[in-house]
Point group: C2
Chain length 376, copies 2
């Protein structure tokens, strides 16, 4: 993997760059649609390429490990061959999902023991086997196995948790470097910075990952219950420490405004289930603000769904029809909302990149932040 | 509406024809995808045109009357403007749905009183207001309001029920002929032949509708619990009576084999929820037989979903991946199955038409009937 820092913005820490992987290039800043179990919910592959213009998608190790399972993925020749997506893929480590299981998981020095949410079967994720699993899934970018500290953890817990994450990271790096890709293309490992909302822990964590000299770094444990101010403050602190010449990935964030604010603070990569999850429920993001498609006000509005939108669905369907689909629980509503939102998210980061290259990002961002959070 | 009988098959009652409506032409025999509440479940408009190559779709009066309701449909300028489908639309009369409501409906001479399955509100469908409703929905082809007699009704019930249907039909015709289209294009009314599985009732019903000299006729009350032999026998009896120069629509039928058998008996138009409903559940129809995509046998089959299929999904996704989507309850599975099945159904009637025109329908049908019902 190669990262080229093309331009740093003026009056901002925002950057435009380019990541090159064996499955193609990624222009940053970028948003990665989430393909939980291999599919981006509600979208065909052609929707992803034609409408959304996705450059990289994300897969969830926990889900893929359980279904279809490593045997099938290996026989297929990896996830790209299995789901037909030929661009770059990043996989999370499964840590976040496992920790979300609550009562049915147990964390030890060795790793995380958990029960499958599907059939209750017992499994153990360790830093070592999670590296092997992601090698087998065939991700271009592999994430370290960490403990995702809750946003409201106290200092003591956060400190202990970070130490565990750091020991696990060392084991991840060791295992990753001892093993080879399975399918003939390169894979790379991104460490994850934890430390909750505590500045000194975040700095310590960032210094530690930077010392490992990998090809990219992630910031985890944000957008997990802390305030937006804390999120932005932590990103600022961490990006002060992370090397400039490597891409920075903020995991699981967020709203369109969150994305612009974090681009402004030097983040290059994002993922979030929000565009698809909210899309399925009828909340649509547009350049002019947020539309709740279940609202009565759209019942007789026969104008196009989003005149400024670049997706097929934006010009094809009317607001009144899309409202009707959501009210009637027709699956086409969920499909339309998902395509629309993802297309919008990708337009957003594409436009942000253009503004960075043009040197106009700060003014544009200030304008957008007001506009994007309006309720229509 | 105009119907042109282009060719009668040799050694079969199968016919190739062409229906011309103000929203375009329909080559018969044809299958009509069901767009219950305005949308064909799981399909975008472009899937319907590009993949399925649908020529006409069906809407359900009962569902559209309740949601979005006549006020919105009228303000939109009719269903075509509302859902964006520019081809011909046929609406059923709502009778079938109302009678399916069981305990929450009551049939009188005046009409059918029922409670909404959504909010329990009371409504009354009469032959007259159902004509008005379909005028307002804006269907190109409007169906008479009838009582759909259950397949296991005794002779006495079936006879009484047919009489009611006939009196209602006279009222439908009167109201339809007294009223005008709302949106500037022509609409036509198809009477429905009932009579359960009783030959004399079916003949009586067919003679009655034929005497009304409308532009097309439907056969209802089949595929509602009777045997396949009874279904085929009734279609034969009715088609002996119905005039040759008018299109014949067999309502709610059926499997691919049912469709070929009834084309063979002189039916021109079909609709059924089977391709979409079964598609959502993982049962796929192909030229080589039926595939249950949840079956373990596809788990590691990385060949294309249907190499002989003409839809985008057939070549894009593998059997193993599609199985995984169904097993994981990912909505993309339902989308793929629905597009695949509808594309197959339309290929089937298109190929049947070609075989009729080539004079080879009977041999081809005999071969297909064996092939299509195999379990793969």
């Amino acid at each position: 993997m190669k990262f080229e820092l093309i331009q740093k913005g003026k009056g901002t820490k925002a950057r435009a760059g380019k990541i090159t992987t064996d499955h193609g290039e990624i222009e940053t800043p970028i948003f990665m649609p989430v393909g939980t179990i291999g599919s981006v919910k509600g979208l065909h592959l052609k929707d992803l390429s034609d409408d959304v213009q996705a450059q990289i998608i994300l897969g969830n190790t926990y889900h893929l490990y359980l279904r279809p399972g490593l045997d099938t993925l290996e026989k297929a020749g990896g996830l790209h061959k299995f789901n037909g997506w030929n661009g770059p893929i990043l996989t999370d480590s499964g840590g976040f999902q496992v920790f979300s299981l609550g009562d049915i998981r147990k964390i030890t020095e060795e790793g995380a023991e958990f029960r499958s949410h599907i059939d209750g079967s017992r499994h153990l994720f360790t830093p070592e086997n999670v590296m092997d699993t992601q090698r087998t899934i065939g991700a271009d970018i592999i994430m370290a196995f960490d403990e995702c500290t809750p946003g409201d953890a106290d200092y003591g817990y956060a400190k202990k948790s970070l130490s565990l994450t750091q020991r696990w990271l060392e084991r991840c790096v060791k295992r990753f470097d001892e093993t080879k890709p399975k399918y003939g293309y390169n894979q790379t490992l991104f460490p994850i910075v934890q430390g909750c909302v505590y500045k000194d822990l975040r700095i310590k964590a960032a210094e530690h990952v930077a010392s490992l000299d990998r090809e990219g770094y992630a910031i985890g444990g944000l957008s997990v219950g802390e305030s937006e101010e804390d999120m932005y403050a932590m990103v600022e602190v961490v990006n002060e420490v992370l090397p400039e010449e490597k891409p920075r990935y903020l995991m699981g964030v967020g709203t369109p405004v969150n994305i612009l604010e974090n681009i402004d603070r030097g983040v290059d990569m994002f993922d979030c289930v929000m565009p698809t999850r909210n899309g399925r429920n009828g909340m649509l993001f547009t350049w002019n603000g947020i539309m709740n498609m279940r609202n009565q006000k759209w019942a007789n509005d026969f104008t196009p769904l989003d005149p400024a939108g670049t997706s097929y669905v934006d010009q094809t369907y009317t607001k009144a029809y899309v409202r009707h689909l959501y009210k009637s629980k027709e699956m086409l509503g969920a499909q339309i909302g998902s395509i629309h939102n993802l297309t919008f998210y990708l337009s957003l980061v594409r436009e942000a990149r253009k503004q960075i290259l043009d040197g106009t990002f700060p003014e544009w961002k200030a304008r957008m932040v007001k506009q994007l959070s309006r309720r229509l």
